[in-house]
Symmetry: C4
Subunit: 346 residues, 4 copies
């Protein structure tokens, strides 16, 4: 399938206070690769993304027990893409298919960071990743050990930048404290969930980090597993991921279906429909553009499972300019979840 | 021989203030590997330990003149264990079978640390050990040289953590002083002797180190060469290690037999018998549980020479909870060697 | 073609406050290698330069899209020159022939510096360059990232010294600020344009840097694309570079032809003719000697396209001593562009 | 030739404030290896030295234009000596057989240190030397560059310790200043000339360095090219080195023959004869023992050209104890060159 005519040009953004440029829209391997979508389809999605200018492909050691990294590495070889053109990431924390004694195959100890990165690079078939993430914070490992270990990874040429995923603001600040104290490199990016229904962390808790540490964001779940597209407004279609996937995260979502918070989300999404219609865009485009409107977002990671979805998502780049202050106020009024500024300026 | 039913689940503890987890019970290669017990037996002991959840296997360059490392490395290959599942250590100081001019094949000079580690890794057939110990303090080598050399080992990927064995509290503090001054990594663990009959160092001298430097302990000789099992209460059996081994340490023990301190120890052990009987455990289990009761002990290294011994030792994990404050007081009353707190809090 | 008799002996100068010695006259690959002059000719020029004592050969990743580095590397192999005898440089910033997505193939991010240097070394067929330059300043990449990345290049043995090209004095000072703060190596040399018609930067803006940071200069365009030789005094010859080259820089020069600044330059050059005649040297020799007269210039990079030009340029070494204070004053009177001292001494 | 009976046991001394032990007597490759004594003889001398416990073999990149390193490396392989048993040194400064353009093949620039060490290791056939010396101070290279470059050599595993040769006290202190400032490793040893006729530097100028920086000495020329053996007391034998060698240093000595300073030295040496006779040792043994008597001397490097000379020199180890305070006073009275203490203690 070839790229449709008329798609907007990809936008590239600096990854926080670094010199690396990532496509504003990127492709994640969370559900897609090696999972319920077969490999050929994954290849097609990656190619579609590459063709529309996506340069950032996100993965993690534990996605599909390591299979996602293998498929991503296979795609890079299959299509003969130049390494320099790509920004490849992976994340360390959860380990992969475990051996007999997995106690040290998880977390952010020096042991798991080094062993995990070595395993990931082997699966990817790469000498280095561009970005290496701590996939969670590890309260059992001293922060200094983790900061030193990620710097060891960078010093040995196995990664170019390191960052975090789903850390608290305090944990990120603590990592920088050790980096500064020891003259080491601190975490330059964080990967949180961010979408219209989940904005407290990015717009509230993290408020000071962008200026203070130059934190860049590579956010995931911009459409909240599709809820924000409006496709669940009238119930769960049988062929959707929510209806079929065995993934734990999705199963967790399934369990929410029908409870109060789920109902509240569906109602909120339904009330966004008129705003999208007025702007003559789909609700998915509105939700995606809303995320990209936030300049602290370096890249929004999407989990497309068909090439058409990739093309659709890219259209949102054109819609960002439609989000005038007035439209943003209308959206805030519907969402009712705008964080109060934590920074007081006297 | 297969694992008996009903053994308690292995417990894993953080190695001091690090993110590494070691099994509370571990296996040491001091007497066992390559020594008077043939290799096949060693393999059987290692397998038994691995099967009950032991992940930490301890060795040293000089155990059996380097043979212990070879056998340990052979076992890892033979059983196809995953490297990530294992915590492998060795220790540098004493050198191994010497060349013609061994003056620099001993101690903690940069030369011996680097050459010693390279030799150990070759014998083990590994790219890195998890833990590297300074097997003694070296008063002839400047502390700064030793601290720098162990950091060189870590920076070149040959070890993940470094520590000490049989150092004084002052020496450990001095190592940290240089590590802090130079922004380097300090020693995270110490390997002292620790058991009911030898507790002054761990409970007295080291008292401040656990909080101050996050020191973890991997203690050896929890049963004091079997004395604490009570098996020498009525004299030395002919087939025991004390009766047969050529090992220098054991020979040193032999020389003590019959002297005043030996008699005193045997009498003390005999007086512990009622306490063990009251708890319905063996004296060996009591002694082992007593060591594990100390939370500053990350791992107790045992020197089993038969698989059955491994299984027996593991049972002590269940006995720790029997050591109530009252029982501990009774034990202290028998031992009469509880160190006075050195830390004064006003 | 063999070296003519009577050429002066090459002079070697320290590269700023470093221990490296570069020939006062050096050969650059800007227009020459792989470009409009065929490879054999390039080999001949390099050999001529080498034979007269030139030890410094300058290149850049983007010269002729990477072809210049290949030809330079081929020459070194072809002539069997010893690596230790040579000072080889290249420059990172502009990238080379791009892949599909060149956003990260440009600039001074850690990614492009590492990937760019690796690519350059592969094209050159060398394990390291002596000098690595940041070919421009990159205002999008944090200075700290750039300083760290060049130190990574030095620490991994891929370059011996790093410097800048066409940076401002403030940017150079800022790089040193981060180097000093982090205990890293700062930029030791800068490569600016410098000639009789362009002296504000070298003699004005950079005035403090020589003493403050030990900055050395490897200047380019000492003859300003030949203008200072006087050969364009009577119009543009059809067979000159200005008449024939497709190079962008030269095309930019072409566009200036006939405008006011071009006319002013030509008039100035014409007025230098009597001075050259009085000293019994050519105008080219005068211009070259004038550049070498500045002791802050470690090396003047020339872009000879024929061996004869190399020999001619070397003659200027003998002419430096003719530039007495009186002659220099006469030249300043013609040029009328002597920068006012920025450093005030009370 | 086998080791004679009755030789004293070799003494090992710490190399300054380091953990490395060097034999108090060592063998240097200055005149011997690859020079006027053929290789087989060199092998015999090295074997004799090794057999009497010499573990330190000293070389330099420029000794016999690199040939000394090759022969030393050949000997190590030939005899199958274990690397750990040896302390091998070389020195960087003078370069070796030059290429066409040797300007950067000399001195202490980062370029020559790295390229020089790589070349030396290749000639020696070793992965690392134990000691790397700066063979002279280089006033043209910034001290910081030199200190960083030697640390790079240590960090990349190519040497274990670095030091200096024929530096001034101020230069050594300056190197430590940069090492301390940057958290790097400073020079641990200096190689000066030291003997009864040349003691101002070691006993005067360097007085504070032993305590302040832990400086160790590996001194050369303990017998001052044989003058102190008394063999030139009655003129120059035709078959001696002074009579036959083409070495520049020796030729420089030859030129002194007959001048006032030479005559004064010969007279002084003649007046030492009665002291040696009273102690029942040869003058050579006296001179050698006198050097070893100085505890700041870690090793005295000798340049034996026959195995018998090695055995003779070793005998001086037994003679050190004969140098009572009274004997030392008698010697000082003859020499008349005892430095005045520079350190004033109030």
């Amino acid at each position: 399938m070839s790229v449709p005519d008329g798609l907007p040009k990809m936008e590239y953004r600096l990854l926080g206070r670094s010199g690396l440029k990532v496509s504003a829209i990127s492709l994640g391997g969370w559900l897609t690769y090696g999972g319920h979508v077969e490999n050929e389809n994954t290849f097609a999605c990656m190619k579609a993304a590459y063709d529309v200018g996506v340069n950032f492909f996100d993965c993690a050691e534990q996605y599909s027990g390591g299979e996602s990294e293998k498929v991503m590495g296979d795609a890079i070889k299959k299509f003969g893409w130049k390494r320099n053109d790509l920004v490849i990431s992976t994340k360390i924390y959860w380990g992969t298919a475990f051996g007999d004694n997995p106690v040290n195959n998880v977390g952010l100890s020096r042991k798991h960071i080094i062993e995990g990165v070595n395993s990931s690079l082997e699966r990817l078939g790469l000498e280095y990743v561009d970005l290496i993430y701590a996939h969670r914070a590890d309260r059992e490992t001293p922060m200094e050990e983790t900061v030193r270990a990620f710097n060891h990874i960078i010093n040995t040429g196995k990664a170019l930048y390191w960052g975090t995923s789903e850390w608290t603001a305090e944990e990120i600040a603590s990592a920088w404290r050790y980096a500064d104290k020891l003259g080491l490199i601190g975490p330059v990016m964080e990967q949180p969930q961010y979408n219209m229904l989940a904005r407290q962390k990015v717009e509230g808790e993290f408020e000071r980090l962008y200026e203070e540490f130059g934190l860049g964001l590579t956010i995931f779940s911009p459409l909240k597993i599709g809820i924000l597209t409006g496709k669940y407004n009238d119930g769960i279609p049988k062929d959707s991921r929510l209806g079929t996937s065995n993934d734990n995260f999705v199963k967790g979502m399934n369990e929410r279906i029908g409870d109060e918070s789920w109902k509240k989300d569906i109602e909120t999404v339904a009330r966004l429909k008129p705003i999208a219609e007025k702007l003559e865009i789909s609700q998915a485009t509105l939700a995606m553009a809303w995320v990209l409107h936030n300049k602290n977002v370096s890249s929004a990671i999407t989990g497309a499972s068909r090439p058409e979805q990739v093309y659709d998502i890219v259209k949102s780049l054109d819609a960002v300019s439609k989000l005038t202050p007035e439209v943003m106020d209308d959206i805030d009024a519907v969402l009712g979840n705008k964080p109060t500024a934590l920074i007081r300026r006297y």
